[in-house]
Amino acid sequence: MARQREEDLEHLLRRAGFGATDAEVSAYARLGFLSFPTAAAHLTNYGVQPDDVDDHIGRAGYAGVTAQAAFLPASNINDARQRWLFRMVHTRRPLQEKMTLFWHNHFATAYSKIAGAVGAPEAARMLAAKPSEDPGRVKGQLELLREHALGNFRDLLIAVAQDPAMLYWLDGRTNVRARPQENFARELMELFTMGVDTFAEADVYAGARVFTGWNLARPGAGPAQHYEFSYNAAQHDTAAKEFTFPIYRDGGRVIPARAPAAGIEDGRDLINAVVRHPLTGPRLALKLYQYFINEVDAPDTALVNEIAGIYYARNYEIEPMVRRLLLSPQFRDSSNHYKRYSWPVEYVVRAVKEVGWTGFSVGDTLTPLVNMGQQLLEPPDVNGWELGRGWFSTGGMLARMNFGAQLATNQKFNLRDAFRGQALTPEELVSAALDRLTSQEYSAGSRAALADYVLAGAPWTGSDAQLSTKGSGVVHLILGSAEYQLV
């Protein structure tokens, strides 16, 4: 039976989640989701849904994972990647994972540099351990981002500034009084908050001194031994620091000299200042607008300004900004649908959800994702991935097409069974496949090309053998089409 299309709902689940299976759309519809605000509230209030997705790893009925021996997501980076992908496919809190992905790109931290310093298992732990599973109660950066996914931006920034993975990634662990380390202070201003060309070199020097002594300790013993943030008062530069932009609400630009024991307040003052900076709200608002509404056309400046206003009015809470975006008329405006280039992980997860996962392991997406240009927990640099058209090199496009081939091959028999009885003609097979995948509307010419493909080689009988060959073939071609690359 053809899917009942609920375009607004499917759009919401693609943008605020990773797409939806037929069954999920029906289930959401039964929950009263046809009222769009109810649906959006359901997604933003994800806290009422149990965070139990990890319990399903390895269970029948879910996508598989591929492990060498044991599945060790807190010490093996590929297992950590698989756990995150599994969550994206099966979570009942899709917006939480979607925002976690957003913050992972915003605070882009790469595993390889950390692994080079502390070894592979410790680096994976630093990035992905859950406190409940770790003998030292380590909360990896990914869990930190999940926790604050729709929380308060200031709290998130403080947590990130004290996150061991970040302290390795931007070298804060070695930032000491005698020779300050500029890396974190620069990126805090340039990438995490205000933006490039909004500050002076003098601010970088002053900022580096602010964070002197924000280092690491390694308490515990045995398996509980772990890295954690430690303010090292003896290594803090206690002298005053002057900035070119206001640090305090009264316009004061100087962080005062403080006793060593109180020096950690310097960092809090600077983080408060950059969070409050008049360019931080608009910058975050634009990033969120392009993530949720439209990155293809010129931004709707009125809406971006409104979101930036909410950022300041609601004391840097993220949830009201995102909720407003989802409930805005612009979100539902069909001219904004399919106006964002999917990130490779979005493409892969949506394809798995829509094509099927019985007998498929999320481990089989890891190499294709590398070829598409998005290896999770390994962004190319602290600026994150090159979004939008940046994903679509020829090599990246072939990698997407080839993942489509791999998935369609894997699901050949499931697709045959799904299409049986729905494909009396080539056109019906094409319709059934397009119906299964929530692609943007296909042009008549493209539909005709797909129907010609179904007919190529032999007259159409609709036999099981043909359904298996041409069903997987048509699905592959849709997954590889331009229309399917957009969300």
Binding site: V296, G373, T394, A449
Partner: protein, 420 residues
């Protein structure tokens, strides 16, 4: 039409790759018409290469004073003589291959390259070096604009990025640049073998020929797919390249090996992009430690460039090839507390090839602190530029690629170093 069937997908699930036999390419036509086979390979060292550790002023006492743990001992540097200002200079000890090329007169080193008010941002700095426009580093790249000025139709393999993204340097208004990080994987897979795989490829090509003018985002993706289909088979031939020397097993060397293969196969590419990272050495730079971070970086560059140079020499392609290296900035003169160096300003550029007049160009900085020292800036923290990087680009465009430098760069940049 030929069909190759080989297993493509892991996990015991077979898909099939499809190839077509090669038609007559524009490059062949160009060859027949006796056009130039010259090519340019741009090498980007990402992260901001510490030029003072690549080209070492080993007689400057300030170098040792300002880098107490990171200075390379004078006795270990590979001396290459003095620049025109009389500064004695040497290469990092791991650059033995480059020293041989320098001694053969085929490596030029342009000192203190940069631009006024150097950006210390990786991303803005890279954009500036890519566009050649410090005041507005958006839009197309300098080589993209060179491609834009080539007579149409421009063959889709005229440029080749060996990384997954298209670097801004190659971003063009009218010419799609393929990204081919791995020639072996640059193939089209299908769930079915045999004739059906051929139908699938033909259908995918047909669907992607749809370029709706009212949906430029869709047209863009389809144009990318079209460029992939137009380059697949020629690239497939490159994947079988057997080089004349063993290349080291690292990303840069393998990329250069692929570049050499493309040249030997005469695919017609004129501009290649290769890149290697890890130069953002804020901590633990280990400049003078046996297997330290920086020596490893130098070893990677040296091994890859040496193999490439020798391979091209054996293949008699050296005279057709120019390799040009840059990085987004160099690093601060003083080391920081993490035995590393933070973001700085002017650095060096390297040019290597059979047509290069080797040697040291420009003058080394004087590392003495003081407002009266014109070779430094930012209260003597960083090296000030002497040669505008765009004058180097102008030299390459005019004297190597035969393009119109003023048109490509938007202005004339005379007085570039005469290494070509």
């Amino acid at each position: 039409m030929s069909i190759t069937r080989r297993e493509f997908v892991r996990g015991g699930v077979a898909a099939f790759t499809v190839g077509f036999s090669a038609p007559l390419f524009l490059s062949d036509l160009a060859r027949v018409h006796g056009q130039s086979r010259r090519n340019l390979v741009v090498l980007y060292l990402s992260g901001g290469n510490d030029a003072l550790s690549t080209l070492i002023p080993y007689t400057d006492a300030q170098y040792y004073a300002r880098r107490p743990t990171l200075a390379v001992p004078a006795g270990t540097v590979l001396q290459i003589g003095s620049d025109s200002a009389g500064n004695a200079l040497g290469l990092h000890p791991r650059l033995t291959g480059l020293r041989s090329i320098f001694n053969a007169g085929r490596l030029a080193i342009v000192q203190r390259t940069g631009y006024p008010n150097s950006s210390r941002s990786h991303f803005e700095g890279t954009d500036i070096w890519s566009t050649g426009d410090p005041s507005s580093p958006q839009g197309t790249g300098w080589l993209g604009r060179y491609l834009d000025r080539l007579p149409s139709p421009v063959d889709p393999l005229t440029a080749w990025s060996t990384v997954r993204e298209i670097p801004r340097t190659l971003l063009s208004r009218t010419v799609g640049v393929p990204s081919i990080p791995n020639a072996q994987q640059y193939a089209f897979a299908s769930p079915n073998g045999g004739a059906d795989a051929q139908y699938a490829r033909a259908t995918a090509a047909r669907i992607s020929s749809h370029l709706p003018v009212d949906q430029p985002h869709l047209s863009f993706v389809n144009a990318t797919a079209q460029a992939a289909f137009a380059t697949l088979d020629r690239v497939g031939e490159v994947a079988a390249y057997r080089p004349s020397v063993a290349y080291p097993n690292n990303g840069l060397a393998l990329a250069l090996r692929t570049v050499a293969g493309a040249m030997v196969n005469g695919v017609g590419t004129r501009v290649y992009w290769v890149q290697t990272g890890g130069f953002d050495t804020h901590a633990g730079q280990g400049t003078n430690v046996a297997n330290g971070t920086y020596p490893t970086l130098m070893g990677t560059v040296d091994g890859a460039l040496s193999a490439f140079y020798t391979d091209l020499s054996n293949q008699r392609l050296l005279n057709d090839t120019l390799l040009l290296q840059f990085s987004e900035f160099s690093r601060r003169i003083d080391e920081n507390g993490s035995q590393g160096t933070d973001h700085g300003a002017a650095g060096i550029m390297l040019a290597m090839g059979g047509g290069v007049r080797g040697g040291l160009y420009g003058s080394a900085p004087n590392l003495r602190m003081g407002a009266d020292n014109p070779t430094l800036e930012n209260t003597s923290r960083d090296v000030r530029f002497e040669t505008d990087f765009r004058s180097v680009y102008a030299t390459v465009i005019e004297n190597w690629l035969g393009g119109d430098a003023a048109a490509v760069l938007g202005s004339r940049f005379p007085g570039g170093p005469a290494f070509l």
